[in-house]
């Protein structure tokens, strides 16, 4: 595949992105608040909890990650609740590039291995370094790459730089899926979130992801709504389904279910699959498991009944 970087000039991209309709922030907040109050009945909750578990990218992205910690996390990814064999596996484990080999040998092909690449989380490195970073992770066995966009270039209006970086990284990924992290907490406005979503999708992203988890605010419902709308509109106009990953700050099963309601109401049932919607989280899984135990045992569970990561 040849580079498509020449498909657009910066002027084309500016015209296209700045021509997108503006986001009604109050309206977006009102809509997610309204959807957040929806009552979820017991049978739906059982379904939603299992679905949410299969959508989790179980993540550890700390300077103090050890091979032992990653191995333990992988065991949890495959069997989140060892006391209950009916509990599904999560979608993927998400680690730094140098730990991909450890994760891959621990999970085999039972769950995906996602690696953060391209000088995560800041993205402040030159393109050759970012491409090397990506090649390295793919060679070690990653089948999903989470890249960060150059927010500095985006905010400066140099959309072509952001676009061509994504195109290059997409090529470097080969057959691995590419998730593009917009870091919405640094984009400041929902208009920018909509533009960055379109930019990433035009450049070939398989997923667009809210945040690195290292910046506050991370994933929020209004931001995810805007991204889901962009994905819906992109599917309508370009015929390609792009996934969304909400990452960072989602800690409770209740929050996760609010996101699932948002997905269903914005893009429909087709997106209610781990292939098109993911949660990037670490502590969320424990709450999902406790709520799942609550549904299976009939009484409330506690943190003593799930693993400490």
């Amino acid at each position: 595949m040849t580079s498509t970087a020449l498909d657009y000039s910066n002027a084309d991209l500016r015209a296209l992105l700045l021509g997108l309709p503006g986001v009604d922030q109050i309206g977006a907040e009102g809509r997610v608040a309204m959807l957040g109050t929806r009552s979820i009945k017991t049978s739906s909750k059982v379904f939603a909890l299992d679905l949410a578990i299969t959508m989790v990218d179980l993540t550890t992205l700390e300077g103090m990650d050890t091979p032992g910690k990653v191995t333990a996390l992988c065991a949890k990814a495959v069997h989140p609740d060892p006391t209950d064999p009916t509990c599904p596996s999560v979608a993927a484990v998400c680690v730094y590039g140098d730990l991909v080999g450890v994760a891959r040998s621990a999970v085999g092909d039972r769950v995906h291995v996602a690696a953060v690449a391209t000088a995560f989380p800041s993205g402040r490195a030159t393109l050759p370094v970012k491409i090397m970073d990506t090649h390295d992770a793919v060679a070690a066995g990653a089948d999903e790459i989470d890249m960060v966009i150059d927010r500095g270039a985006f905010l400066a209006g140099d959309y072509l730089k952001v676009y061509s970086e994504i195109v290059e990284i997409k090529q470097a990924c080969g057959s691995a899926h590419l998730k593009v992290i917009l870091e919405t907490g640094e984009l400041k406005t929902l208009d920018n979130v909509r533009r960055a979503s379109w930019l990433a999708m035009l450049a070939g992203a398989d997923f667009i992801k809210t945040s690195t988890g290292k910046v506050t605010p991370a994933a929020t419902l209004p931001v995810t709504l805007v991204m889901l709308e962009a994905v819906r509109d992109f599917a309508d106009s370009h015929g390609r389904r792009v996934g969304v990953k909400a990452a960072g700050g989602i800690r409770t099963a209740k929050d996760a279910i609010k996101y699932l309601v948002l997905v269903k109401e914005t893009v429909g049932d087709a997106w209610l699959t781990p292939d098109l919607f993911r949660f990037g989280a670490s502590t969320l899984l424990n709450d999902l498991l406790q709520q799942r135990q609550r549904m299976t045992t009939g009484h409330y569970s506690g943190p003593d009944y799930v693993t400490i990561d």
Partner: protein, 288 residues
């Protein structure tokens, strides 16, 4: 001059140091002994109980680590703050229980004194409940009490204040956190007490007060895997007590059985404090 509009109170729950409404939105009316309306009181649901357990778990983590001396000071501070609200407490008890103001004042004095009594025990209980044990080996072997964790308790129906304080104080003095259901018929002193607790250096979540029906809420707490012990002191219905104990067995909780008509005016013993501690024994090598 126009007549002043009456402020009719709707009291809320006390969870994690805050005063939320019941998640269910329900309230019930509380009347005085002659049936006159006193206030609306929040009626806790199982979800409020669940929230209270989360708050209590967070509360006990810090509270158990505080020094015993510091816990004693905090308990004494509760007594001080209650002293400043004498008139309100006396009116609460007088209206609710229909007793004379003299009797109500006597109950308040006893309740304040009970805090002071338990405050004194804070840094002495370990000496009484702990021990150094003679063992056949080169070890210094000693046992000491540690808090059980999160305790769900039901306070007696009456007397509404001294009964409540006598249940809460021995649980928290050793470092536990408590979720307590006060008397459903006379809950107002418990609400005034929660206002004192919120302003007396008690860390958030150490005491959580759920007004409402114990028969509705307690089964959820009895089966909750993150509750470590039950204090069923105020349960009158023997069938309910048996059910709760059975539920508690599922996660091997400690259970202190019902004693709704105990004499709360008598000076307590250490038995309530002993009921909610775990004994840790340490074998320390000696002479090496």
């Amino acid at each position: 001059m126009t007549e002043r509009v009456e402020v009719r109170k709707t009291h809320k729950l006390f969870i994690g140091g805050a005063f939320p409404r019941s998640e269910s939105g329900r309230t019930y009316e509380v009347t005085d002994s002659s049936g006159t309306f006193l206030a609306n009181v929040a009626q806790a649901s199982r979800k409020d109980a669940r929230d209270a357990v989360l708050a209590a778990r967070a509360g006990t983590t810090a509270w158990a680590k505080a020094t015993a001396y510091n816990r004693g000071q905090v308990l004494y501070r509760i007594a001080e703050v209650m002293e400043g609200r004498r008139d309100q407490f006396i009116a609460d008890i007088e209206q609710g229980e229909g007793v004379s103001s003299k009797k109500a004042a006597a109950q308040l004095d006893a309740a304040i004194d009970r805090w002071v009594w338990y405050a004194g025990w804070a840094d002495k209980f370990a000496q009484v409940a702990g021990s150094s044990n003679p063992v056949a080996g080169p070890y210094f072997d000693f046992s000491l009490p540690e808090p059980t964790g999160v305790v769900a308790a039901v306070a007696p129906q009456q007397p509404s204040l001294i009964g409540l304080v006598s249940v809460i104080a021995p649980i928290i003095v050793t470092g536990n956190a408590v979720i307590v259901m006060p008397s459903p018929v006379h809950p107002i002193p418990a609400i005034t007490l929660s206002e004192c607790l919120a302003t007396s250096d008690v860390p958030a979540g150490v005491v959580n007060i759920l007004t409402g029906a114990p028969g509705e809420v307690m089964p959820w707490l009895a089966s909750h895997a993150d509750v470590n012990a039950l204090d069923l002191t105020g349960i009158v219905d023997a069938g309910l007590a048996a059910d709760l104990e059975r539920e508690a067995a599922g996660t091997v909780k400690r259970v202190r059985g019902p004693k709704p008509d105990a004499d709360w005016s008598a000076t307590p013993t250490v038995s309530r404090m002993r009921a909610f501690v775990e004994v840790k024994t340490v074998w320390h090598p000696m002479g090496v």
